[in-house]
């Protein structure tokens, strides 16, 4: 059967793509951010997952507000990046995993998660930045990616309890897949930040660190927040924590934190990197 062998939280901001494209990783501004990544890359290179399930939000590349899915899942064999309008380099295609994607869609829609199921889906920095962070130089083509996109732009949005439940349903779907493959789950984005309004620039370091702690040991506490609570505590775009919460929903039993780095600010955000393992079910 398929196994989730671990999970990662990471930032996905576009400025990271620019920093990597321009070779700025060792400049004083970026060094504390990038120096945290090698242990996670080493773990991924050692474990060699077949599939990454990647929770992200689209920032107006694939989806516009003419039709805005609350939850969407990609079921394609390949995904393409495209011009996002502000000059970050367009990167090579991302490999998909159609069979497992459809299995997950079948399983979770039957459980009551009414997904938008996408055979074509342009993927933006929310998905591509984490892949390039883990396999620099766009060396991610060997790993198969299942994009799961959560609306973080327009209210109403799925609440944290619901994104956590989505993660749990995806975890069950993976467990019920009969092929022996290893899966790692990425929760991307966040953490505290606010881009818009006179409150722009808001960052809440203490809140972010508390969220990282709770992602390890007390995820149920995070599901008690509403999205508006997240806005209050972490700024308007802290609703992106939903991707981390969904990731955590896929994990079972006692969760072990293998690596953590918190650094702020990166661009306008607090950035939390974590590598987690959990109690895998007996096969």
């Amino acid at each position: 059967m398929a196994n989730i062998i671990g999970a990662v939280t990471t930032s996905h901001i576009p400025a990271i793509a620019n920093a990597m494209a321009n070779g700025l990783e060792q400049t004083p501004y970026w060094k504390p951010f990038f120096d945290a990544y090698p242990p996670v890359r080493d773990w991924l290179n050692e474990k060699k997952p077949d599939v990454i399930i990647l929770f992200y939000n689209d920032h107006g590349l694939e989806f516009f507000i003419d039709k805005k899915p609350t939850f969407a899942i990609g079921v394609a064999d390949e995904y393409h990046n495209a011009d996002e309008g502000w000059g970050i380099p367009t990167i090579p295609p991302v490999t998909g995993e159609s069979d497992l994607s459809w299995h997950i869609a079948n399983s979770i829609v039957d459980e009551g998660f009414d997904m938008t199921v996408c055979q074509e889906m342009k993927v933006d920095h929310g998905l591509t930045v984490p892949l390039n962070l883990m396999w620099p130089g766009h060396q991610y083509g060997h790993v198969k990616v299942i994009p799961v996109c959560i609306n973080c732009e327009q209210y109403p949005m799925a609440q944290p309890w619901r994104t956590y439940a989505l993660g749990q349903a995806i975890g069950r779907a993976v467990q019920s897949y009969e092929k022996d493959i290893n899966v790692v789950v990425f929760g991307t984005g966040g953490m505290s930040h606010q881009l818009d309004g006179e409150r722009a620039g808001f960052i809440n370091r203490a809140f972010d660190i508390d969220c990282l702690d709770k992602l390890v040991n007390d995820p149920e506490a995070l599901t008690k927040y509403t999205n508006i609570d997240l806005v209050e505590q972490g700024g308007a775009q802290a609703v992106e924590l939903n991707m981390h919460i969904a990731m955590r929903g896929t994990l079972l039993g006692k969760v072990t934190e293998l690596h953590r780095n918190y650094h702020a600010p990166i661009s306008n955000t607090g950035s939390g990197l974590m590598l987690l393992e959990h109690e895998m079910p007996e096969s």
Binding site: G60, G85, Q194, L195, A200
Partner: protein, 120 residues
């Protein structure tokens, strides 16, 4: 009003709910096209004509003309699409932060550093 998502308000924060999404639809639709170079070129050639194509209101056109991000938010702009307008203007998120808070970009960056260290 029923289309408001919540009664909770935070100073300097514009929640993008149904009411705003409706008000800003044309504005956001225009900014969404800025994903494409051909649209950015067309806007740059004649901004007013391009705004008219998307039926922007007078207030939205003024805000675009003045690069007034706060006014664009009040007129229903979503930051995701306004970011593409900012990209067209060659402004980054710290420039945009400065414009919205009345600071220079450097002062805004200094505030981010301070907030990042937890010195709120």
């Amino acid at each position: 009003m029923a289309s408001n998502y919540t009664d909770r308000h935070f100073q300097g924060t514009y929640l993008f709910d149904g009411q705003m999404a409706k008000k800003g639809y044309g504005l956001n639709k225009m900014c969404y096209t800025f994903n494409e170079q051909v649209a950015r070129d067309e806007f740059n050639t004649d901004p007013n004509a391009y705004c008219d194509k998307f039926k922007l209101s007078a207030a939205q056109k003024d805000a675009i003309h003045n690069k007034d991000i706060i006014a664009l938010l009040r007129e229903g702009g979503s930051i995701y699409y306004l970011a593409k307008f900012a990209g067209l203007l060659k402004l980054n998120m710290q420039d945009i932060g400065g414009l919205q808070t009345g600071m220079t970009t450097d002062a805004f960056k200094a505030m981010l550093e301070k907030n990042g260290r937890g010195e709120i």
